[in-house]
C-alpha cells in the first residue's frame, strides 16, 4: 500500500474523529476517552482472529486466511526466554511494506496477509532488547512463499550477546512456582474485574456481556494517555489512575443512561442481556476501528529482568501487578464489610426487595455498584495491559474467565468473585504444565462444569428461593 495522500489521510483522521466523537457521545461526557488518531504508527493489520472477514462473505475460504507467524525466543541459563516487543516487518516481493507487528509477551507474533504470494519478513534488530541479537547478524530477512489459505511460519534464531550478567539460575522445580506466581498475578486481575460483574448481577440480576469491554476501556485509555505517539504522553502510573477514574465514570454512565432507563421501562433481564451483547459488539468493534487490530505494549515497563521475591521468580511488573491487585481486593473487601455503602451493596445483592423496604436507596446503590465495577474492571485492564499488552479484544477474551470466576464464587457474591478469580487464574496458568498453552482456557470450563454438578450455588453463594 502506498503512503496515503495528505488529503486522504486527513479524511481518514476526520472519520476516526467522527467515530471517536459518536463514541464519546455514547459514553456521555466521561472525560478522557477515545484515543482519536491513535493509529498512526503502524499500517493497520487485519483484525486477526476475529474472523470478521470470514463472516463477511459466503465465498469459500474468504480472504484465504493466509498469515505468517513465528515465535521469538533466545536461550538463557533457565531455558528459552520469549522476546517481548520486537518488531517484525512484512513486505511484498518488491519491498513494499505490508505491515509490521510487535511480538507478544510470549514472544509470538502473527501477521494476516492480504492473499497468497511471496513475502519478505524482516526482523528489526533495533527493536530487540539490549544484549539480544540474531545468531547470524547478516541473516535477518526471510523470503516465504504463501499458498492459498496457508499459515506460514518464519523463524529468527536469536542469541544473547556474550557479556551479560547471568540471571539467577532457575532450577526445573521452580517452573511450577513460576506458573503459580503468574497464576496469582492473572487471578488477582480476574478477581478484580469480576467483582463488578458479580455485584451487578447481584444487585440487578443482569449478566453483563459487555463487562469485558470495560476492562479493555481501562487499558486503552491508559495506553493512549501514556504513549508518546497519539496522546499526551503521561507517565503510566498517572495514566493508569486516570484510566480507572474514566472506567468508573464509563460504568456509571452506562447504568445511568442505558440500563437504568431500560429497567424503568420494565425491560426484562433476558432482553437486557441481549442489549449487553449488542453493546459489547458495538464497543469492541469501535475499539478495533479506533485502536487497530494489533496488540501493543505501553511505552514503559516493557522488558524487565526477572527478580526473586520469596519463592517466586518473575518480572518486577508482575509483582507490582499482583501487589496492587491484592491490595485493591483487600480494600474492596474492607469497604464492603465496613462502610455503609458496602453493607448496602451486599444487602441489595442479597435481597433487593428486603433492602428497599428497609430504607436503602436501591437505585443509587446500583449506580454506585456500576461505578465501582467500572473502575475495578478498568484497573484490571490497565494491569493486564502491563503483563499481556493492550489490544481491542483483551477484555472480551477475559470475559469467559470472569464468567467462570463468577459462577465458581457464586453469582452475586463479591467475595466469591475474589476467590473464584484467583482459582481461575491459577488453574489457567498452572495447567499449561500439562496441556498446550493455547488451550489454557479449557481447564477453567471443566472446573466450572464440575462445580455446577456438585455445588451449583458456587463456593460462597446461597441456594435460591422458590415460591
Amino acid at each position: 500500500m502506498l503512503p496515503p495522500m495528505p488529503a486522504a489521510r486527513a479524511a481518514r483522521l476526520l472519520l476516526r474523529l467522527v467515530l471517536a466523537f459518536s463514541f464519546t457521545v455514547v459514553v456521555a461526557a466521561v472525560g478522557p476517552t477515545a484515543p482519536a488518531g491513535a493509529q498512526t504508527t503502524t499500517t493497520s493489520t487485519n483484525p486477526g482472529t476475529t474472523g470478521s472477514t470470514v463472516l463477511a462473505d459466503d465465498q469459500p475460504a474468504p480472504s484465504g486466511g493466509e498469515l505468517v507467524r513465528g515465535t521469538l525466543t533466545f536461550a538463557d541459563e533457565s531455558g528459552r526466554v520469549p522476546v517481548d516487543g520486537a518488531v517484525v516487518i512484512v513486505s511484498t516481493e518488491d519491498g513494499t511494506e505490508v505491515t509490521r507487528v510487535t511480538s507478544g509477551a510470549d514472544g509470538k507474533w502473527e501477521v494476516p496477509l492480504p492473499g497468497p504470494g511471496t513475502y519478505q519478513v524482516t526482523i528489526d534488530v533495533e527493536s530487540l532488547p539490549a544484549g539480544v541479537g540474531p545468531e547470524d547478524p547478516a541473516n535477518i530477512v526471510r523470503t516465504i512463499e504463501v499458498a492459498t489459505g496457508q499459515k506460514a511460519g518464519a523463524g529468527f534464531p536469536l542469541a544473547k550477546a556474550g557479556a551479560e550478567v547471568s540471571s539467577p539460575t532457575a532450577p526445573e522445580g521452580n517452573k511450577f512456582l513460576k506458573l503459580l506466581g503468574q497464576g496469582i498475578a492473572l487471578g488477582s486481575i480476574i478477581a478484580m474485574a469480576t467483582i463488578g460483574l458479580s455485584l451487578i448481577y447481584g444487585t440487578t440480576g443482569l449478566i453483563n456481556f459487555a463487562h469485558g469491554e470495560l476492562v479493555t476501556f481501562g487499558a486503552l485509555v491508559a495506553w493512549w494517555l501514556s504513549t508518546g505517539t497519539g496522546g499526551p504522553g503521561l507517565s503510566l502510573v498517572l495514566a493508569g489512575l486516570l484510566a480507572v477514574v474514566a472506567g468508573a465514570a464509563f460504568g456509571g454512565a452506562q447504568e445511568k443512561y442505558l440500563f437504568a432507563p431500560l429497567r424503568k421501562r420494565r425491560t426484562s433481564n433476558v432482553a437486557l442481556i441481549v442489549v449487553t451483547i449488542g453493546w459489547a459488539l458495538v464497543l469492541r468493534h469501535l475499539y478495533l476501528i479506533i485502536f487497530g487490530g494489533s496488540s501493543r505494549p505501553y511505552d514503559e515497563y516493557v522488558l524487565q529482568r526477572e527478580i526473586d521475591v520469596g519463592p517466586f521468580t518473575l518480572a518486577p511488573k508482575s509483582f507490582w501487578t499482583t501487589g496492587i491487585s491484592l491490595l485493591v481486593l483487600v480494600l474492596v473487601g474492607l469497604m464492603l464489610q465496613r462502610t455503609r455503602l458496602g453493607t448496602a451493596m451486599r444487602a441489595v445483592a442479597d435481597n433487593r426487595d428486603l433492602a428497599a423496604s428497609s430504607g436503602i436507596d436501591v437505585r443509587r446503590v446500583i449506580l454506585l455498584t456500576w461505578v465501582l465495577g467500572g473502575g475495578l474492571a478498568a484497573l484490571g485492564g490497565v494491569l493486564l495491559g502491563l503483563t499481556n499488552r493492550v489490544s481491542w479484544s483483551m477484555g472480551a477474551l477475559l470475559l469467559l474467565q470472569m464468567f467462570a470466576a463468577m459462577v465458581l464464587g457464586g453469582l452475586g457474591s463479591a467475595y466469591g468473585a475474589m476467590v473464584g478469580g484467583l482459582v481461575i487464574g491459577i488453574v489457567t496458568t498452572t495447567s499449561t504444565e500439562l496441556i498446550p498453552a493455547e488451550l489454557d482456557l479449557v481447564p477453567s470450563l471443566f472446573v466450572l462444569i464440575l462445580l455446577l454438578l456438585v455445588r451449583p450455588q458456587g463456593l460462597l453463594g446461597r441456594a435460591e428461593r422458590v415460591g
Binding site: 464492603l336 453493607t343 451486599r346 444487602a347 445483592a349 442479597d350 435481597n351 428486603l354 433492602a355 428497609s358 457474591s413 463479591a414 467475595y415 466469591g416 460462597l460 446461597r462 441456594a463 422458590v466 415460591g467
Partner: protein, 269 residues
C-alpha cells in the same frame, strides 16, 4: 376425627444458613377435610409447602402421601401422585390464554410427548375431552367468558381463581393452596371460600395457608398453627383460636419483623 390420614410428615427440618425456617416434629392432614395452616408471616408455612411438594429439599425429615414416601421425589412427580399446589404469588401463565392455562394442567395428554405430538390424530380426541372439562371448570369458577383472553388480563382475584381451577384440572387427591385469599378484594373472598367448601363436598382434601385467623374459622375442619418454624397448636378452629400460645405468636409478630431487619445487616455478599 382423623380416622383416615392422607398426609403424615415427621421430623421435617429446613435450615437456611443459620436460620431454621421449618422444624416440624409431626403433622397430619385428614382425608376429605379442609385443613388450614396458619401462622404469622415468616412462620415457615410456604417453606413447608415447598418441602412437601418437592420444590425445596429438607435438611432432614420424611413424609408419606397417600401411601407413597415422597421425601426426595421431584416436584413434577409429587404433582402426579396427586399433591397439587398453588403459589402465594400467583403463577397464572399470563402470556397464555385462560383456556390454555387450563388445558396445560390436564394429565395423560399423549400430545405432550415430542414424537406423538407430531401426529395430531393421536391426541386430538384427548384434547377435546380436556377442553370440555376445562370449560366446565371455568364455568364453575365464573371465568368462562374470559376463556380466550390472555391470563395476564385477569384481575388479581380472577388469577387466584384460575390457579385454583387449573390445579383441579391436574386431578389432585389433595389440593394445597398457598394464601388463596391474599390480595383478593373482599367481595371475592366469600366466593373463594364457597369454592373451597364445595371442594370438600366433592370429596377433595384441601390444605390451605392463611395468615388471617378469622378467615379460617368458618370453613376449616382442622387448623394447624405454625410459628418460627414449629407447629405450636393443632385442633379444631375453636381450640386453636383460643390457644394462648397461638395468641402469643400473633402478638409476637413485631418481634419477627425486627428479626428480619437484623438479618439484612448481618448476612449478605
Amino acid at each position: 376425627m382423623a380416622d383416615d390420614v392422607i398426609l403424615v410428615a415427621d421430623g421435617v427440618q429446613r435450615v437456611f444458613g443459620g436460620l431454621t425456617a421449618v422444624d416440624v416434629d409431626h403433622v397430619e392432614v385428614p382425608r376429605g377435610r379442609i385443613t388450614a395452616l396458619i401462622g404469622p408471616n415468616g412462620a415457615g408455612k410456604t417453606t413447608l409447602f415447598n418441602l412437601l411438594t418437592g420444590f425445596d429439599k429438607p435438611t432432614e425429615g420424611s413424609w408419606s402421601f397417600d401411601g407413597h414416601q415422597l421425601a426426595g421425589v421431584p416436584a413434577h412427580k409429587v404433582a402426579r401422585y396427586g399433591m397439587v399446589r398453588t403459589f402465594q404469588l400467583t403463577k397464572a401463565l399470563s402470556k397464555m390464554s385462560v383456556l390454555d392455562n387450563m388445558r396445560l394442567a390436564a394429565p395423560d395428554q399423549s400430545g405432550e410427548r415430542i414424537l406423538t405430538s407430531l401426529v395430531p390424530g393421536t391426541w386430538r380426541a384427548r384434547e377435546r375431552a380436556v377442553t370440555e372439562e376445562a370449560e366446565a371448570l371455568l364455568e364453575r369458577f365464573n371465568l368462562a367468558h374470559m376463556r380466550d383472553d390472555y391470563a395476564g388480563t385477569l384481575s388479581g382475584g380472577q388469577r387466584k381463581l384460575l390457579e385454583m381451577a387449573r390445579a383441579l384440572m391436574a386431578k389432585p387427591k389433595m389440593l394445597m393452596l398457598d394464601e388463596p385469599m391474599a390480595g383478593v378484594n373482599p367481595a371475592l373472598v366469600q366466593s373463594l371460600l364457597e369454592h373451597i367448601k364445595q371442594l370438600r363436598t366433592d370429596g377433595m382434601t384441601v390444605l390451605f395457608v392463611e395468615h388471617d385467623m378469622d378467615v379460617v374459622m368458618g370453613i376449616s375442619d382442622q387448623v394447624v398453627c405454625m410459628a418460627e418454624g414449629q407447629v405450636i397448636s393443632v385442633g379444631t378452629p375453636h381450640h386453636v383460636g383460643s390457644d394462648p400460645k397461638v395468641i402469643e405468636a400473633y402478638l409476637g409478630l413485631r418481634r419477627a419483623v425486627e428479626f428480619e431487619e437484623g438479618y439484612v445487616e448481618g448476612h449478605g455478599g
